[in-house]
C-alpha cells in the first residue's frame, strides 16, 4: 500500500516541471564545482604529491560537491515538499486518500519515502560523477560512503520537516517558507554561541553533518538525524489525525 502512494507521489513529482528543473539545476552547479576542483587537482598534482598527508583526489574533487549539495538541498527541498499535503488539501484530493483503506501512517510514510527517493537521486548523481574518476585515479571509498550516508540522512530529515510544514497549511508557498525557516534555524543555530560546550551544538544540523563530511560515522550523529526525522514524521501523522478529529 505504501508502494502505491510512493508511486503516485513520484509520478506527480515528475509530471511537473519542478522536479526536472531542480534536478537539472543541481546537476549543473555540482558538475561545475566538480570540474573546477578536478582541474585544480590536476594542476597541483605534482606539488601535492610532495606534501605528506596532503588532500587526495576524493577530498579535493568529490567532497566539495557534498558540502555544496547539502546547502542546495536546503533550498530545493521546501520546493519539493510544499505541495505534499497542502496541495492535496487545496485541491480536495486528500479526501480520496482518507476515504481509502489506508492508514494515516501509510500516507505520511509514503509521501516521505517518495521525497527521500527523489532526493537520493541527487546523491546518486554525485556518486556517479565521483565514480567517473576511477577511469584515471583511485577513490577513498570509506570517505565517499560516509558522505553519501550523511547526505541521505540530511535529505531524509529535510523531507520530514518539509512534510510537516506542508501538513500545517493549505498554501504551498506558506509551507515552503516555513520549511526554509526551520532549516535555516537548525543549520545556523551554532552561530548563536561561541562556547564550544554549549548545549545549542547538540541541536545544530551543521555540527552533526560535519561528522559525516570528515568521514566518520558517529552513532550520536546517526541518532540525531534518525530522531529528527522520526519526530517530524510522528508530528505529521498527529497533525493529520487532528484534522480528522477537528480540534
Amino acid at each position: 500500500m505504501i508502494r502505491t502512494i510512493i508511486a503516485k507521489e513520484l509520478r506527480s513529482l515528475f509530471a511537473s516541471p519542478l522536479a526536472w528543473v531542480v534536478l537539472a539545476f543541481l546537476q549543473v552547479i555540482l558538475a561545475l564545482i566538480f570540474l573546477t576542483r578536478l582541474n585544480f587537482f590536476i594542476i597541483n598534482q605534482a606539488q601535492l604529491a610532495r606534501i605528506p598527508n596532503a588532500e587526495g583526489l576524493t577530498e579535493t574533487a568529490v567532497l566539495p560537491m557534498f558540502g555544496i549539495s547539502s546547502i542546495l538541498l536546503m533550498m530545493a527541498v521546501p520546493l519539493l515538499t510544499m505541495r505534499l499535503i497542502a496541495e492535496e488539501r487545496r485541491n480536495k484530493t486528500m479526501t480520496m486518500l482518507l476515504s481509502a483503506p489506508v492508514s494515516m501512517t501509510q500516507i505520511v510514510l509514503g509521501k516521505f519515502l517518495a521525497t527521500t527517493i527523489f532526493l537520493a537521486l541527487v546523491g546518486g548523481l554525485i556518486t556517479l560523477m565521483a565514480l567517473s574518476l576511477l577511469m584515471g585515479g583511485r577513490l577513498d571509498y570509506g570517505l565517499l560512503a560516509a558522505n553519501l550516508i550523511g547526505l541521505l540522512l540530511l535529505a531524509g530529515s529535510f523531507a520530514a520537516i518539509g512534510l510537516y510544514m506542508s501538513c500545517l497549511t493549505t498554501h504551498p508557498v506558506v509551507a515552503a517558507i516555513g520549511a526554509l525557516a526551520v532549516f535555516l534555524v537548525l543549520w545556523l543555530m551554532n552561530i548563536a554561541t561561541i562556547d564550544q560546550s554549549s548545549p545549542i551544538h547538540l541541536f545544530s544540523l551543521l555540527k552533526h553533518f560535519e561528522g559525516f563530511v570528515n568521514g566518520t560515522i558517529a552513532v550520536t550523529n546517526l541518532i540525531y538525524f534518525v530522531l529528527l526525522t522520526a519526530v517530524f514524521l510522528i508530528l505529521s501523522i498527529r497533525r493529520l489525525d487532528a484534522d480528522r478529529l477537528g480540534a
Partner: protein
C-alpha cells in the same frame, strides 16, 4: 428493491453528533440502510449533509455516536470498514495531471484491487460511467460533467457495498443529470447508496427512502411514498382581492398556517393533511373576499421545510399543553 436483496444492514449509524466548538453541525443523526436501498439525504445548504457523509466515510471523526459498515465498527476498525465504502465528495478528488485510466488505476490500487484484476476493474468502471472513450484523456482537460463521472467511477471501482455520493448532479446540464440519475438507479440495484441533494424531485426520482436534515437534525425519515403522502397535505396558493387578515384565513381553513406572499397572495398550509378548498371558496363568496386564484402550490423543498418545522412547533405546543 429486488427479491435477492436480503434485509442485511449495510450502514448503521446511531446518534451521530458533530460539533465545532459550541456550534452543533450535526446532532443525534441516525441512519439505517439495507442492501439494495437508495437513501436520499435532503436538506438546504448548511443542514449538515456533508458533515454527516464525512463521518460515515471516516473523513471526520464524530464527537458522539457510532457507525457500523456491514457490521464493522468504522471507528475501531477503520481500514476494514473503509474498504467497503466508495465515496464521492462534493468536490470530486481528481488529480488533474493524471489521465483517466491512470487515475482509476490509482483508485483501484488504493482500494487494494489485485494487479491482475485491475485492468478489468478500470474498464468496467469506465464503461459504467460512460467514459469508454476517455481513458487516455487528461483529467484536467475534461468538462465538468465528465469530471463528475470520473469521480463516480473512482467511487465504484472496487465494487463497494456502500456508495456515498455527495451532491452528484451539481453543476451538470439536464442531459447529464438524467444520465447520472440512470446510473444511480442502476447502482442502487446491488449496492447500498446514500446520496445527498437539495433538489426534491431528484430524491423522488431515484431514492427508496428519504431523510431530511434541518439545522443538523433529522426532521423527516420515511419512504418516498411517505414523503409524497406528506406533501399530499397540499399547500394552496390563494389570491384574494379584498383579503382579510391571514389569521382569519387560517381560522376558516381549519387552523391552517398562512403566509402572505404579497398583499393579495397567500400560501395556505393546511393542518394535518386536510383539504380546506371548499371552506375557502365558501367563505370567500359569503364574506366578499374577491377570490381570483386558488391552486395547489408547487411544493418546493422550502415548503416541505415550512410544513415540517410548523409540524414540529405544533407538536411542541401539544407537549407543552
Amino acid at each position: 428493491m429486488t427479491t435477492t436483496a436480503s434485509s442485511e444492514s449495510t450502514v448503521s449509524a446511531r446518534a451521530l453528533s458533530r460539533s465545532y466548538g459550541s456550534n452543533h453541525a450535526v446532532r443525534e443523526v441516525s441512519l439505517e440502510l439495507k442492501r439494495g436501498e437508495v437513501l436520499g439525504l435532503l436538506g438546504p445548504n448548511g443542514a449538515g449533509k456533508t458533515t454527516t457523509m464525512q463521518m460515515l466515510t471516516g473523513n471526520l471523526a464524530p464527537s458522539g455516536g457510532e457507525v457500523d459498515i456491514c457490521g464493522i465498527d468504522l471507528i475501531e476498525r477503520p481500514i476494514q470498514a473503509k474498504s467497503r465504502i466508495g465515496y464521492l465528495p462534493e468536490v470530486p478528488p481528481l488529480y488533474r495531471e493524471l489521465k483517466v485510466d491512470e487515475y482509476l488505476r490509482l483508485a483501484g490500487r488504493l482500494h487494494k484491487i489485485k494487479t491482475e484484476a485491475l485492468a478489468q476493474a478500470v474498464l468496467r468502471a469506465r464503461n459504467r460511467c460512460g467514459l469508454s472513450d476517455m481513458g487516455g484523456r487528461l483529467i484536467g482537460s475534461l468538462s465538468k460533467g465528465y469530471q463528475q463521472r470520473v469521480g463516480i467511477a473512482q467511487a465504484i471501482i472496487h465494487e463497494p457495498d456502500v456508495i456515498i455520493l455527495d451532491e452528484p448532479t451539481v453543476g451538470l446540464d439536464p442531459n447529464q443529470i438524467r444520465e447520472i440519475r440512470t446510473l444511480i438507479k442502476d447502482l442502487g440495484r446491488d449496492h447500498s447508496l446514500i446520496l445527498s441533494t437539495h433538489i426534491l424531485p431528484e430524491v423522488e426520482a431515484v431514492c427508496d427512502r428519504v431523510q431530511i436534515l434541518h439545522r443538523g437534525e433529522v426532521v423527516f425519515n420515511d419512504t418516498i411514498a411517505g414523503l409524497k403522502q406528506f406533501r399530499g397535505g397540499q399547500t394552496l396558493q390563494l389570491g384574494l382581492r379584498n383579503p382579510p387578515s391571514p389569521e382569519d384565513i387560517g381560522r376558516v381553513a381549519g387552523g391552517a398556517v398562512v403566509d402572505a406572499i404579497n398583499a393579495n397572495l397567500f400560501r395556505v398550509h393546511p393542518r394535518g393533511g386536510g383539504d380546506p378548498t371548499d371552506e375557502l371558496v365558501r367563505a370567500s363568496v359569503e364574506r366578499g373576499w374577491g377570490l381570483f386564484q386558488l391552486q395547489p402550490a408547487q411544493t418546493s423543498l422550502e415548503e416541505v421545510f415550512v410544513q415540517l418545522t410548523h409540524r414540529e412547533e405544533e407538536e411542541e405546543e401539544k407537549v407543552s399543553k
